[in-house]
Amino acid sequence: MSDRDMDASWRMAWLGAKQIVPHEVVFVGIGAPCQAAMVARRMGNDHMTMIFESGVIGANPDEMPLSTGSPTVAKGALMVTDMLGVFALLQRGGIGLGILSGAEVDAAGNLNSTVIGPYDQPKLRLPGSGGAHDIALLARRVMILMPHDPKRFVRKVDFITSPGHGAHSGRAGLGAGPAVLVTTRAVFAFHDARPVLVAHFDDLTTEEATQGIDWDIAVSPDLQRLPVPDPSIAALIKSFSGELL
């Protein structure tokens, strides 16, 4: 199997979708987070609440939106309020799960979506936090989605946009931080603020599941080998995912 096949985005979406519990209230960003939530809806999690920062609550988009304000986000939604309504809900603890991604992640679950290189002399300026900083701190738990691209799994992110374990001070009123990290190959749970490999697809070896990632990764004694879903699932995911495979 080629790396390309092992790292098709629908695989990450499928693994991510399984982490969303029934009735969970989920703050969803554009791209991979939205894709995972949409897969969960289609895998029988009918009662999860999908929330977009533009003000849409109980969304059920029929195709992957480019923007949190795209027409498909509102189509069929149960509630359209404003951005303040959504972030107020987030800050008062009403969001169960935030799904985030970024350009870089470290082993504590810190995410960088601001700059590559030093802040004042960046090699590359990225779009910035968006709602990611806010979600990382305020959602009751966080899921990180990151394709298995080893150069994005760094020892130390260049800029902590979205604080993971250690960088956030555990004050009252904040969430519990990253609970799980999902790649195109595997699932890592954070135990004592460190990633533990808890599952990977059964079409690759445990070594392949973390291949090239320069972290100290513990392997769970209960490591699960997950069957790759039926090709019809992959086809279903691809049918609404636009250019994201």
Binding site: V73, S129, L137, L138
Partner: protein, 219 residues
Amino acid sequence: CRVKFGWYGNPGIGLSHVLRRAVADGSLTVEETSNFGLLLGLHAARLGVPFLPARILLDGDMPAQAVGTSRVECPFTGERLSAVAAIRPDVALIHAQQADAAGNVQLWGIKGDTIEGAEASRRVICTVERIVPSDVIAQSPSNTVLSASMVTAVALAPMGAYPSYVEGFYGRDDAAYRAFESLSRKANLLADYIKTTVHDPASHEEFVAAMQAGRNGDV
């Protein structure tokens, strides 16, 4: 030149090449914040107070770069909170479905932070898809988002949100955003595009037509 934003990119497509170049060549200073940080700054101005307390912008590397963020202690609980300074723009530029000639503006569908930004600003200039009589406004007063006293000027500009969309009028032209990804990669390509779509057109209608042509690579 200085810009404050929570997120600056091409939605769903990628980073902004314009921002990337401007930061690299030092022509632009960024005031870092998050989407909620920006929103709270506008909300403070809307509420008429100089700051609002929050639980964000105290952790990680954002606080060091977030201009207009300080700290405040809750006088009741002693909790350590961030203080987000009010953002009071000189002018807000917004687009809506309709308004009457007096300036009562109606907007429906996904509103994001449009109203927060407008009410935070000293002046509001609003373009609309159509001008309607005041009695049409009064038929659905819950759709009115800004009253005439809050609005400096209203201008008729059909297709004024393009390539974005207006609920009930036209859809989002996702292809135009994708085309912008390529044509904004090089400064000279972008300059050509701006000349053709912004400077050359003699009217609003020509501007819209040039924008629509541009997304097909016809520029």
